[in-house]
């Protein structure tokens, strides 16, 4: 596990740049992570990110797109608009979580 500096603070990341320690994330850091991949966070983004954070805390793994839409109540189409092309991975990155491991 590497330590990297993002927004002036040291955080643990994996080889691809995803944060690996749940507690090292906060909402300020999310703004920086989002900006690094060209996304400006709106309330709609935050709804998805907060669901992801809460769900990870209770489930111990990152929600898949299907789970965000079915359990989190955010339509799939909207997720593709908010986090274009690779919504599941982009959401996980900004939320400071590992990539989802589920297939569906």
């Amino acid at each position: 596990m590497k330590v990297a500096t993002i927004a002036g603070r040291a955080v643990h990341v994996d080889d691809e740049g995803f944060l690996t320690v749940y507690g090292e994330w906060d909402e300020d850091l999310a703004e920086t992570l989002a900006a690094r991949i060209g996304i400006e966070l709106t309330d709609a983004h935050w709804k998805a990110l907060r669901f992801l954070r809460d769900d990870y805390r209770s489930q111990g793994e990152t929600a898949t797109l299907r789970r965000v839409s079915v359990v989190g109540g955010i339509p799939t189409r909207q997720l593709f608009t908010l986090f274009p092309k690779k919504p599941a991975k982009k959401m996980a990155y900004i939320a400071g979580l590992p990539k989802p491991r589920g297939c569906v």
């Binding site: 040291a10 991949i37 839409s69 991975k89 297939c103």
Partner: protein, 169 residues
């Protein structure tokens, strides 16, 4: 903290081949053979890959409203179930095996076929029905689920998927 901090890597979300396309031909109507195409289409769309599915022959059952909720699984002729083959032919065995497989699929958090197709369409996937199959079965757009964009010829599908990687299932 006395660790050595490196500049942070940004995940390569724009990596991969630009304009990558995937074409999936779904030609089977068994419950177990419906899922591979759906799972792979869903995965490809989640990776930003333009994805087209072509439903043909028995695969038509996957998109036909009257049948799509009622796909079946049989252990007959399938040695991977590791059951005696004679068992698969007993009356009621297809229903039992289908129920069991549907339960396992649901427990894995994977939707039934109609919901899965809706999710694929919502993710930007394109669903196409085969003209020849529609003609053979005397079906038209009204018989197919709403997510199907059109009934097209094999030639049209080949044209739409120019340059795509192709999976035949």
């Amino acid at each position: 903290m006395t660790v050595h901090a490196e500049p942070a890597v940004i995940p390569d979300f724009d990596g991969g081949t630009a304009g990558r396309k995937l074409a999936i031909i779904c030609s089977k109507g068994n419950l177990d053979m419906a899922y591979p195409g759906l799972v792979l289409a869903n995965a490809a769309l989640g990776e930003g890959v333009e994805t087209h599915l072509f439903f043909t022959f028995w695969g038509f059952d996957m998109i036909t409203k009257s049948r799509m909720r009622d796909l079946k699984f049989t252990p007959l002729g399938n040695t991977a179930t590791h059951l005696p083959q004679g068992l698969g032919g007993l009356p009621g065995m297809t229903a039992v095996a289908t129920r069991q497989m549907k339960r396992q699929i649901a427990e894995a958090g994977v939707p039934e076929v109609p919901e899965f197709l809706a999710q694929i369409a919502d993710s930007g996937g394109h669903l196409w029905a085969c003209r020849m199959s529609a003609d053979m079965l005397h079906l038209d757009e009204g018989d197919l689920c709403a997510e199907v964009e059109g009934i097209i010829s094999a030639a049209d599908f080949i044209e739409k998927t120019d340059g795509a990687q192709l999976l035949f299932i």
